[in-house]
């Protein structure tokens, strides 16, 4: 799943460390989320959305998986 987390974080002038502290997750989790290597739980997705005062859909982009 793609997301705009890095773009939004940088626009707010936050470092990965700042965001990790605010969300009470590790900095590596933020890095993995930004790289698209890790998809957050619905709870963390809500936490991120609330932190940035946005909706989940504004941050995370859902893509239908291509049919095999």
């Amino acid at each position: 799943m793609k997301n705009r987390l890095e773009e939004i974080r940088k626009a707010r002038g936050l470092t990965q460390e700042d965001l990790a502290d605010a969300l009470e997750v590790s900095r590596q989790t933020i890095g993995s989320l930004e790289n698209g290597r890790y998809n957050p739980s619905i709870l963390l997705a809500f936490k991120i959305a609330r932190f940035f005062d946005m909706s989940i859909e504004d941050i995370f982009i859902y893509e239908e998986e291509k049919a095999l």
């Binding site: 997750v25 590790s26 993995s32 890790y38 709870l43």
Partner: protein, 143 residues
């Protein structure tokens, strides 16, 4: 988080086991049967339990003076990605354990290892497989 008293008790139990093991090593002149290995098992177990207890107590004392570090450690422990990684690693290790233990049992049987030891290994293997089925059913009901 467990109370400090649990770790004090563990430390004392470890010391008692260690002392009992050392006492038996020193005072049993011609040990026979289970007494040949028991003192050394007690020493090993005692050291392990004592080390675990004191280690936890020392780390808690150190963290008491640095709340920032304590918070960081707590975040790392509760981090959902870390938890997912640990669970995935455990799952992979379990998948590996099934064929490894299976091969080991066949190898032991072919080597003609004592039947009691072999049956104990089979029982342990089946217990772990049974636990996996039990937790699967339990989580099925919970989720």
């Amino acid at each position: 988080m467990k109370k400090n008293s649990t770790y004090y008790v563990l430390t004392i139990i470890g010391l008692i086991l260690l002392a009992a093991g050392l006492y038996l090593i020193k005072n049993s002149a011609e040990p026979q049967g289970v007494m040949i290995a028991l003192p050394y098992i007690l020493v090993g177990l005692g050291c392990g339990v004592f080390g675990h207890g004191t280690g936890e107590l020392i780390s808690r004392r150190a963290l008491k003076n640095s709340p920032d570090l304590a918070k960081k450690i707590m975040i790392e422990q509760n981090d959902e990605r870390n938890i997912a990684l640990v669970n995935r690693a455990k799952g992979k290790a379990y998948d590996l354990m099934v064929p490894v233990f299976g091969s080991l049992m066949i190898a032991f049987a072919l080597m003609g290892v004592d039947l009691i030891a072999l049956l104990l290994l089979v029982a342990a293997y089946l217990f772990i497989c049974g636990s996996s089925v039990y937790y699967r059913i339990r989580y099925e009901k919970e989720m």
